[in-house]
Subunit: 337 residues, 2 copies
DNA sequence: ATTATTCGTGCAAACGTTTGCGTAAATTGA
DNA sequence: TCAATTTACGCAAACGTTTGCACGAATAAT
């Protein structure tokens, strides 16, 4: 188990002091060309790189950021994490990621762990029922935070997400265009912001097409297959059943597909279905699922960029709200002849 | 932005020296009961916890472990990560995770990042084509590493995985039991150990049932939908097409399902299909996919445990190889009347 | 009353790095 | 030749924590 080389090792080898090595490594002008050359060569030979802990101690910064997401198994989040890591790495930051598994309790524990790890800031996408946001407000009093995707209006900070309203609008417009007359919205938890934004887009589209919003066609469920399927079954069994469903996520949409099949309804002829996120799974189910695509990686990159900008800003930082456009991925589940 | 309280702050408030505070916080017997009490109260009041960087500097340990997996979007890996984080957190360790995205080049960069972050050890599951393992051997000369799931015979370290041979064996036995006469194996890259172990199980089952192994029925593909579908199409178009397919992963199995549908073959009547990993997606596709289930979370926990044990061992640590049993999840894709 | 023991606490060094300041030697200018 | 300047480097402190050692005071033993 080889010990890492330190500045002192180089100093001893070259025969100068540690401070000279430190300066030479950054090519300081007050060090002679010759010394710089030999120090840098020795450093490379010893495979030297600075000890993170020592730097942290000196600068009160760890150059580490935390990420808390509901579940990395959702490809939206693992792809966003990819973007986050890319941006962080580019700027010399390390990322520590953790999953709340949609539990607020676990999210709180994650926040505590992040504090103890001494991160410089945290990127968060909220768990589905996170409503008591005290843990985040408290965290925010100690370090910058940035919310992405699953954000909240009750926290004043930078936020990155897609234009959920517009995304939902385009999905519902698409359903109407292929001939749907009664369109349902399978929403998420009632207090979840993205769920309500998408509901706005849903309503706007109906309104624009002079269709009225029927509250019975708006059902709430959790982000799980069984919860979605149960809700969809109830919806599709009602006498005035919908002939189109816009679901808050692909997994919920797939729950709806399962319900439709159970009731022997044809997709998309009897009921067309469209989801949100455009996860790989959407292309793999049968019939393949239309969906609203989010630029997950870009969202991750931008979220990380804003967080790091804020960490490195010396003056007061004004929160930035940034939203991206979505794109429809049309597949079999909404392809009518 | 509140600064974190330090031992010095407590010392000043209580009116003792920093060393006394340090000892009092751990309830050292050489400090008076009274001092201990007031110090601990003050610490709690100030929300004190020790500065990680300072401890790292002192002990040459960061209490951080790294994790490198092919893709966190595979639920096997995100679930394993869950287990890893649980065990790490229990033992006071922080986890930094990164994805190789199945690219050896990225895996190498990840390894370098890990070294720079100063982790105490690394957990790795290999990218699909990782063959040049120099980066791992070099890493191993500096810190303990543990491989899990996608392991290699060419590295001498602790390894955790499922009994791939037995898992494959049971899957093929199942196919035979439901009446399959010609069973294909859709394998992964040729040098991937888990792929070959599963091939062993496949062959063993055929042998036990007095069926001969036909090399034409063993095809190699990548872990992507298109690669799998292409391979399956070729397989299913051949005149002697198989009536059963055992695939190295669920995604590959789903590629095979797509190919079968394209050729208007019924699943499971014309061709029965079984995958590996039992990802959530297996239950969601239609027909639902039978699969070999791995205890992902337990594997993650055990891998983390072994790594941390090794990090904390003062003497030479003998590598531990541990394998877990799999369980069949039987679904529609192998349910014949 | 004197010495030995125990108890409670503080001092200082160490970990690796940076940086303001000081200083010897080399160079310049007259 | 001597003063003024420049060049090239070293010293020491600081960041937060732990820990071996020392030390004063109180207590116990003689």
């Amino acid at each position: 188990m080889m010990k890492q080389a330190t500045i002192k090792d180089i100093a001893q080898l070259v025969g100068v002091s540690a401070s000279t090595v430190s300066r030479a490594l950054k090519g300081s002008p007050e060090i002679s060309e010759e010394t710089i050359k030999i120090v840098q060569e020795t450093a490379k030979r010893l495979n030297y790189f600075p000890n993170k802990a020592a730097l942290s101690l000196l600068h009160f910064k760890t150059r580490t950021i935390g990420v808390i997401v509901p579940n990395l198994g959702y490809s939206f989040f693992s792809t966003a994490l990819e973007g986050i890591e890319e941006e962080a790495s580019k700027r010399g930051y390390t990322v520590i990621a953790s999953q709340s598994l949609e539990s607020e309790e676990k999210e709180i524990r994650n926040v505590i762990d992040m504090k103890r790890s001494g991160v410089d800031g945290v990127l968060i996408s909220l768990a589905q029922y996170s409503s008591q946001l005290n843990h985040l407000l408290e965290l925010q009093s100690q370090m910058p935070i940035v919310l992405f995707d699953r954000v909240s209006d009750n926290i004043h900070c930078s936020k990155i997400f897609v234009n959920n309203t517009a995304g939902a609008f385009s999905a519902v417009e698409h359903l109407i265009k292929i001939g749907c007359k009664r369109i349902a919205y399978m929403a998420g938890p009632k207090n979840l912001l993205i769920s309500n934004r998408r509901k706005d887009g849903y309503s706007m589209s109906l309104y624009r097409n002079k269709m009225k919003v029927d509250e019975k066609l708006i059902v709430h469920c959790e982000f799980s297959h069984t919860s979605a399927m149960r809700a969809a079954l109830k919806l599709l069994k009602s006498k005035d059943r919908p002939d189109g469903i816009f679901a808050i996520s692909d997994r919920v949409a797939i729950g709806a597909m399962a319900a439709a099949k159970k009731l022997n309804l044809r997709i998309p002829e009897d009921v067309a279905i469209i989801g949100f996120n455009d996860e790989p799974i959407a292309a793999l189910v049968s019939p393949s699922l239309s969906s609203v695509r989010q630029p997950a990686k870009v969202i991750g990159q931008m979220a990380a960029k804003l967080l790091i900008d804020q960490i490195e800003a010396d003056k007061v930082f004004t929160p930035v709200i940034k939203s991206y456009m979505t794109r429809l991925s049309i597949r079999e589940s909404t392809k009518r002849k």
